[in-house]
Amino acid sequence: MRKALAVGRKELHQILRDRRTLLILLFVPAFFLMLYGYALNWDIRHVRLAVLDREHTGESRALISSFVNSSYFDIVAVVTSTNDIEHLMDRGEVRAALVIPEGMSRDLRGGRVAQVQVLINGDNANTATTVFGYAQAIVRGVSAQLQLEMIGGRALAPPISVDPRIWYNPELRSTLFLVPGLIGFIVMLSCVVSTSLSIVREKERGTWEQVRMAPITTVSYIVGKTIPYFVISLASALLIILAARVLFDLPMRGSWAGLLVALSLFVVGALGTGLLVSTLVDSQALAFLISLLVSLLPTVILSGFIFPIASMPLPIQLITYIVPARYFLVVLRGIVLKGVELHTVASQVGALVIYAFAVLGLASVRLARERG
């Protein structure tokens, strides 16, 4: 639409001249890039565990029940092949898997060192480290128990040792986990703040009223206004991803097309959120505050960016379902670290679509009501 394009061109001219908006769009991300050197510690419980027991002996069951009794692990799946584990991991249904190979009991009885395998999803490096620690401690405990039972055995070597494999992020580098979260966080923040400010600024200056006097529908005005922000946000998000690849060796195991789709959906939802904020307030100061409140806090705290959602109390977990970053991070980490296709994370992608439609719908209802 011609009118929407005129609005878009105007907005672009304004952004290029407005230092504050440019600062928000360019330097706030840079500022936060410096912040994630901080190491963070997490206490993790109820790790979703898959068990592959090829043994089915008393010893193997004893080992499994000590995992369950630890309260660190919940067995959510008992599988029969490693393919199943791969599947469950890809979809994020389990974080770890315990594989008990055939012959463990035989090795034990024969006085040899028996091996069990613990597979850990390393896309969240800190969680993975902790999970690894728990698994090791449990296995050591069982080992010690067995040692006592085998009086006169070769007591110096532990009878069972763990053979861990950490998938997707074998070196457990926390950056690989944090960078996707950071991308989501920066995109959300800059989109919400810039959109809400750009509209509320027009309300403050009176140009909003002037535009409303013109024969242009609110929808085409909004479309025109958000196109430049959409393009800029998308570009800056891709830039951060590229920078993360260069600086932090962030892998790209999935498809760029899938990433672009997910990113676009997330950006639209974020722009819609900013739009919704702008319909609720009339001053830039308040718009800024509310934008920070609705974008910064949930995206940092309730999205799984830093704190794992699984370890939150249930009411808080329920709240996280309306935080779009929660879904975006699963998709982004999936694409970048695991190389999954969009259809593997279809429910998350769907949630992003629903969120975008919901906020845009709410915002249009609010805008229509402004006509009084």
Partner: protein, 311 residues
């Protein structure tokens, strides 16, 4: 056909009656002034006429189009300029013009033609690349006017268009308005500058949501026919007001800038009792002259009779 027709237009905000059964008609090419203090209901009326606000009851047509049924149709036929000269400060003069042209759906060649017209009209030739925020008040005002008439609207709404502008620019602005009116554009203007209202062909005085008086400037001043107004200049106007309390032929007094306006009772033109009272109280009076009642006098009188507080 009338440019604007309003019948019993009413708007409530909760329990507050902002506009109370207003009816009026404006002819094509007329400059119609809407006068009243802040909160009298002027802007609410304009917002309803421009299709921004739905009336609670009553009807209004602008350019023959019903504002409730087809607000978008109304918007295509009107130009609107507000007290804030709502330009985009971070855009240049040229970019503002091009943007508003695009907003009204003008074609590119047409925007070029109209841009030239606006630059000439506003005296902004050579300043095309100046940012709007760097323009002085008068230029900003004329640019805002130019942007409001890019699409050649037959009806122009001006909502307190001259706030914060110097007197010279104000005069230039009104010359432009007169010229538009001569070309057949209907101008509907709200103001609380009473001197400005003298430019209007016809006026409505609005008070507390109602039209308290309506007519030409001369007609409104007729209200004072037979009542003389004496302007008293003194260094102590407040004491002078008190001093005149109880003088038999004085109807009322009011401060008028630094001077004092004294209404004499119907048919009375005797200033001797005033001079006598001032002498008694030992008040030095610089001058005492009969003056023609100004619109402000009319306004104060109307508001007073409507039973409200003066602006």
């Amino acid at each position: 056909m009338k440019a604007v027709t309003i019948r019993d237009l009413t708007r409530r905000f909760g329990k507050f009656l902002a506009v109370d059964h207003v009816s009026l008609e404006v002819d094509e090419g007329e400059i119609f002034g809407f006068l009243g203090s802040n909160g009298a209901g002027k802007s609410t009326t304009i917002r309803m006429l421009c299709g921004l606000l739905k009336p609670s009851s009553g009807s209004a047509t602008v350019g023959g189009i019903d504002v409730t049924r087809d607000p978008e149709g109304v918007k295509r036929r009107i130009g609107y300029m507000s007290q804030r000269f709502s330009l985009y400060e971070l855009l240049t003069v040229e970019e503002n013009i091009v943007f508003f042209g695009g907003l009204y759906g003008l074609s590119d060649p047409e925007i070029q033609t109209r841009k030239a017209f606006v630059l000439d009209m506003a005296g902004l030739r050579g300043r095309e690349r100046t940012l709007a925020r760097d323009l002085a008040g008068g230029w900003r005002q004329r640019l805002a006017l130019g942007c409001a008439i890019l699409h050649r609207p037959p009806i122009l709404f001006l909502d307190e268009p001259t706030g914060g502008v110097d007197p010279v620019s104000r005069r230039q602005f009104w010359q432009l308005i007169d010229r538009l009116s001569d070309e057949g554009v209907t101008v509907f203007v709200t103001t609380h500058y009473l001197d400005e209202a003298e430019h209007c062909h016809r006026l409505a005085l609005m008070h507390a949501g109602r039209i308290a008086a309506m007519g030409t400037v001369a007609e409104l001043k007729e209200v004072f026919a037979g009542r003389a107004v004496v302007e008293v200049r003194t260094s102590a106007p407040m004491e002078a007001v008190r001093a005149l309390d109880g003088v038999p032929n004085v109807e009322k007094t009011s401060l008028f800038g630094t001077a004092l306006h004294v209404w004499l009772r119907q048919g009375n033109r005797d200033t001797a009792p005033l001079a006598e009272r001032f002498l008694q109280r030992g008040l030095a009076v610089e001058s005492m002259d009969f003056v023609a009642p100004s619109l402000e006098d009319v306004f104060m009188d109307v508001v007073e009779r409507a039973g409200g507080a003066a602006a």
